[in-house]
């Protein structure tokens, strides 16, 4: 993603943001805000799935933990500063990611996926059981719009929430891009392509994957915390492992591109909203979409397009490369 086209991309995003902000009704602004938060969830998982090759289903655990961190702080301890909330949410989720990563990163592929799914279910169970802290399955009420301390006022108007969510998503995209292009990012992609070769070169591969896991956990906490501030409420539904599956759908539709998961995230949340408006059988249609996406497998499709495109670019026709799938 060359620097120049990225700059244009960001500028276009900002213009679109300003237009939407003033043009839309409060209701569609609120759905947009939820969609932008969904995009953040997708981006945080793409760091793991696309670049580190870790098919993790634990994203809901970090997304929900971020939400609960700010929720508990606001409802139980009256801490309503937005920046402190986001910071603490990221730290708590990062810690949880460290613990889960240490245990689950000893396994690979389908095993790793099943274990991360089990952990998400465990964290959900914890939220339902620990009624004194989390309010159990009725969730936590009494979370008022946070103050933006250095800036005056509170994050309360639909326009304000929309703008903040959009800026947060843009920043998350830039962070993922920065990590992808950094030395750390390249090592991660190297480990994804061939862990044994990178180990033979001297890289402690599990440590790098743990680093990616913790970073992705911290990134997922930001949209999680924003969701809680938007809803002024947090409940175990935010920790449900179905959210991990939804995040995975966003990444797979994003097809391994850099900002694909963000757009896919916004699209998936809006899709569910529109489907529910038009049919009672929205779950049936959603299920069909999941199956279709699984069969099309966009990452492999894009990979094939890239190799053909690369071949046309090079003068000498190379041999037919074996089809590579994002593992």
């Amino acid at each position: 993603m060359p620097r120049r086209s990225l700059l244009i991309g960001v500028v276009l995003a900002v213009i679109a943001l300003v237009l939407l902000r003033n043009g839309l009704s409060p209701y569609s602004l609120s759905v947009w805000s939820l969609a932008l938060v969904g995009g953040g969830l997708g981006m945080s998982l793409s760091l793991l799935v696309t670049y580190a090759g870790l098919p993790s289903l634990a994203q809901a655990a970090f997304y929900g933990t971020g939400g609960y961190a700010v929720g508990i702080l606001a409802a139980k301890h009256g801490q309503d500063n937005l920046w402190i909330g986001l910071l603490l949410a990221a730290l708590v989720s990062g810690l949880l990611a460290l613990v889960l990563g240490l245990v689950s990163l000893r396994t690979r592929g389908i095993y790793f996926q099943i274990i991360t799914l089990s952990f998400t279910a465990m964290i959900w169970g914890l939220a339902v059981k620990w009624r004194s802290l989390t309010g159990g399955d009725d969730g936590l009420v009494g979370i008022y719009p946070p103050s933006m301390a250095p800036f005056n006022g509170h994050l309360v108007t639909p326009q304000g929430v929309f703008t903040f969510s959009a800026v947060a998503l843009i920043l998350i995209c830039l962070v993922v891009r920065m990590v992808r292009n950094s030395a750390f990012g390249h090592v991660l992609v190297g480990i994804r392509d061939s862990e044994s070769r990178m180990a033979a070169l001297g890289y402690r591969t599990t440590a790098y994957r743990l680093g990616a896991f913790v970073l992705s956990g911290m990134l997922a906490a930001i949209p999680g915390a924003l969701l809680t501030y938007q809803l002024q409420f947090v409940s175990p539904a935010q920790l449900n492992f179905v959210v991990s599956i939804q995040a995975l759908l966003m990444v797979v539709i994003g097809a391994g591109t850099l900002f694909g998961p963000a757009l896919a995230g916004v699209g998936v949340i809006w899709l569910q909203e529109i489907l529910q408006r038009h049919t009672d059988h929205w779950l049936l249609v959603l299920g069909a979409i999941y199956i279709a996406v699984a069969m099309v497998n966009p990452p492999a499709l894009v990979q094939r397009l890239r190799t053909q495109w690369a071949e046309r670019r090079t003068a000498e026709p190379a041999r037919e490369p074996d089809l590579e799938v994002v593992r």
Binding site: R3, V10, V14, L17, S25, P26, Y27, S30, V31, L34, D80, V128, K129, R131, G135, G136, D137, D138, G139, V141, G142, Y144, P145, P146, S147, M148, F151, N152, G153, H154, L155, V156, T157, Q159, G160, V161, F162, T163, F164, V167, I170, L171, L174, M178, L227, L231, Q232, F233, S235, P236, A237, Q238, E273, Q276, D280, W282, L283
Partner: protein, 390 residues
């Protein structure tokens, strides 16, 4: 080094944008008092028609549509329904749609306790009355716009605890309730009433929601003359059947809060339910008053025969009647719809209905009944009644 400057540029741009989005309104719940019912009133129902609570949406929607749509109903009332799939986030989105896009004047929400509590602050901010249709979470008195046609557990279980120890003469009780917030509400209420009246709680067991095998809990029930419990839906079917299969029926009398042996699950439990007693505000086998007859006639048209009439339909019917009456009063007196709802008084299938001003929950009496083999299907027989708490 260009990347460092580039990153700084980007962050500063973000800061400028952020400054633009801090609203002025202070935190905390602004207080707004609603407006009177105009010529056109829109009533919005948010309830799940998919997922774990999928049963409730169609039942509530069908009954309320019947009441608002019947000939002779109050004019100018449009009724809309939305599916929240039992998820608080979706419920809030649907409530916002109803209020901002469809201009709802009254919102009936929700079934899942978490969703009811999630939308309450939002509706209070706009001064739009909210009515929770079925028995649900406590704590709605914190919101000036939230009222509940459904009782909250302790309103019945606390006085019943007292009634059980005194009138029914039970000495040692075991509490067996699903391990979720409402389950503990039910248990705490009964424990308070029962111990205050001299009874002793032998053991408290809280199986997790969706427990498939109650064997480990049932095997711990010993030297108690009554087991007070609260389970709903599939848990109720499994618990009552496994309680019967474990031969505990003759050891200790099983008494459950209404939903455990309601018409919704009675047919599925079958003969295992015979002899089990229920504590509820309404007896689904008929209360013999004109409102009940009107309701039963309306209900049988709206749902599968095996499960009709049931308490969800009764509460839905009452919610619709309450709203209609409040609209009539508000239009006549010019008072705000919210005040009319607060002060409404109508005939519910279970008797006279009105809200308690401070607690926002209904004033009601408790009924004790037993499941018996009726002429064509299982029925409830009243054993006694007691006053509900306020």
């Amino acid at each position: 080094m260009r990347s460092r400057t580039w990153a700084a540029l980007c962050v500063s741009a973000a800061m400028v944008l952020l400054a633009g989005c801090s609203g002025t309104a202070g935190g905390g719940p602004p207080r707004v008092d609603g407006k009177p019912a105009g010529s056109e009133v829109t009533v919005g129902l948010v309830a799940p028609s998919s997922g774990v609570y999928g049963l409730y949406g169609p039942t509530l929607g069908g009954m309320m549509k019947g009441v608002f749509g019947r000939d002779g109903a109050e004019s100018g009332v449009t009724f809309l329904t939305e599916d929240d799939a039992g998820d608080p986030q979706t419920a809030l989105t649907k409530v916002r749609k109803l209020v901002q896009q469809d201009g709802a004047d009254v919102v009936v929400c929700c079934v899942n306790g978490a969703a009811t509590l999630a939308v309450a602050p939002y509706l209070q901010g706009l001064g739009i009355p909210q009515i929770a249709p079925i028995p649900g979470p406590g704590g709605l008195d914190k919101f000036s716009t939230a009222y509940s046609v459904g009782f909250h557990a302790q309103q019945l279980t606390k006085p019943f605890g007292h009634y059980a120890a005194t009138e029914l003469g039970y000495k040692n009780a075991v509490i067996l309730a699903s391990d979720f917030v409402q389950g503990h509400d039910v248990a705490d209420g009964f424990k308070a009433g029962f111990t205050a009246a001299g009874g002793t709680i032998v053991k408290e067991l809280y199986p997790p929601l969706d427990t498939s095998d109650y064997g480990p809990f049932l095997s711990q029930i010993s030297d108690a003359d009554v087991v007070f419990s609260f389970f709903g839906g599939a848990d109720a079917v499994r618990l009552v059947k496994q309680y019967d299969a474990a031969g505990l029926k003759d050891k200790a009398q099983l008494i459950g809060l209404g939903p455990m042996v309601s018409r919704l699950v009675l047919d599925q439990i079958g003969d295992a339910a015979i002899g089990v007693q229920g504590v509820f505000h309404y007896m689904e086998s008929g209360m013999g008053n004109p409102a009940d007859e009107a309701f039963t006639a309306a209900a049988s048209a709206a749902a599968p025969p095996a499960v009709t009439p049931n308490f969800v339909q009764a509460n839905a019917w009452t919610t619709a009647v309450v709203i209609e009456q409040a609209i009539k009063d508000s239009r006549a007196s010019g008072a705000s719809l919210l005040k009319s709802i607060a002060g409404v008084s109508v005939q519910a299938p279970w008797g006279p209905f009105s809200f308690n001003a401070e607690t926002h929950y209904p004033v009601l009496k408790g009924l004790l009944y037993e499941v018996v083999r009726g002429p064509e299907r299982l029925d409830h027989k009243v054993l006694g009644s007691f006053d509900g708490d306020q």
